[in-house]
Amino acid sequence: MNDIPVIIGRLTESFLLNCRLFALTLLFSLPLGLLIAFGSMSRFQPLKWLIRTFVWIIRGTPLMLQLLIIYFGPGLLNLGFSWPGGTSGRFVAATVAFIINYACYFSEIFRGGIESIPKGQYEAGQVLGMTKSQIFFNVILLQVIKRILPPVGNEVITLVKDTALARIIANKEIIMMAGEYTSKGLIWPLFATGIYFLVFVGVLTLLIGWLEKKLSYFRA
């Protein structure tokens, strides 16, 4: 029961939950973050301040608290719906909380990146008869991506490790799984989880470095 291959197998299996949470969060929070960034730069003041207040609340409170409120809130506040029962419900709730939280952080990085592009780039596009969306997608976006890659990389690495917080609403992620062995007198599974994270982050670091190099062909 407690032999090494079995434990490794169970750790790996639970780490897949961390990986799925990571991938889904990234997939949805990046585009959502861009939308929130546009909202926070809106010339329509009520929308701008609504969005900025929302971002302040999400960035100003612990992710752990947000996980608990999003998981328990709908049922206890009689919002008319609750998460599906069992493991799938807990996972969906965690994913939603992570997406909202990370979208807010990304939105501020995007906003900073977009606002840092010189006005002359927009004006050059305008006098060449481009539409607003042509200017954004053909002129501005790649320059923004190049500039925000380092801070986005930071957030992505933080996200890998934050996935462990999903245990607060009983998602059996890798550290929770390893923790179960401490009561049986085993400490090495905890050390082993560290290796999983290190390897994952190592691969991401290489990937981000590769992307940065890809975009180093121009200066902006």
Binding site: Q121, E123, A124, G125, L142, F218, A220
Partner: protein
């Protein structure tokens, strides 16, 4: 027959009036130089012509068509202005090339995007894009940059970047090409190559408006000179008149400062 008529343009930023009753016209093939000290409103005037600023009052008429009338809300709409601004081209003081594109792509990008609106674009895409690239290569040859097509902006000098910017503006075949202090951001040894390209365009009778601090160049190349001060046109006439025999006291003072150098 004037290609451009500017009638009573006025522009304020808050309480500061930057342009007052600007009134002039430009004949086809003419080169107009606008001179004046910093803050005299000359750059704002160019930006109004290119709709980077919206005039508060007045009309802009190109080839007898009213393309902007501050009193007519229809002509102020963004969607209207986008196509109409193509009557004008603008070369910026700071070039504003797109850093992520090659020299050739900088020149062709706007044409490629415009071509997507053509009805035959889908069927003839390859041929159309090749035509556009050919045009870009020709324009870059015209400004002497045939050997830099695949370079990125950061790899070439400021003077070369400004020549790319000129080719980029020419690609859309504007009726009137505007220059906003095209050599002010350049080291002195690089201004010559840019001025040579502009001189070349003047000899080909490109209709141009040049805001400049290069007095000798303005005197040499322009068919007509406008001197602006405090948001108004103080004096306009041939270079001989304005530089050789200015009527207004303010023009004399301004030119005296330049002769000192």
């Amino acid at each position: 027959m004037p290609v451009l008529e500017v009638k009573d343009i006025e522009k304020s930023f808050g309480t500061l009036q930057v342009l007052k009753k600007i009134d002039f016209s430009l004949e086809k093939g003419e080169t107009l130089a606008i001179i004046g000290s910093s803050g005299s409103g000359k750059t704002t005037l160019l930006r109004c012509l290119n709709f980077l600023e919206r005039p508060d009052r007045g009309k802009i008429i190109v080839n007898h068509e009213v393309i902007f009338d501050a009193a007519d809300p229809v002509t102020r709409r963004d969607s209207e202005l986008r196509k109409k601004r193509l009557h004008f081209g603008l070369v910026f003081q700071n070039f504003n090339l797109f850093p992520q594109y090659t020299v050739l792509k900088n020149v062709t990008l706007a044409l490629e995007l415009l071509a997507r609106e053509r009805p035959d674009y889908k069927q003839r895409k390859k041929a159309i894009l090749e035509e556009i690239r050919e045009k870009g290569r020709n324009l870059l040859a015209q400004v002497g940059l045939s050997d830099k097509l695949d370079y990125y902006p950061h790899m070439i000098s400021g003077g070369q970047q400004q020549r790319v910017a000129i080719a980029r503006a020419l690609a859309l075949e504007p009726d009137i090409l505007c220059f906003d202090e095209p050599t002010s951001a350049l080291d002195p040894e690089l201004t010559g190559e840019v001025l040579k390209v502009i001189r070349n365009l003047a000899e080909r009778h490109t209709t141009m408006i040049i805001v400049t601090h290069e007095m000798d160049f303005a005197r040499d190349v322009a068919d007509r000179v406008i001197f602006m001060d405090g948001g108004v046109i103080v004096e306009q006439g041939s270079p001989e008149e304005v530089f050789g025999n200015p009527r207004e006291e303010r023009t004399k003072q301004f030119l005296a400062r330049y002769k000192g150098n």
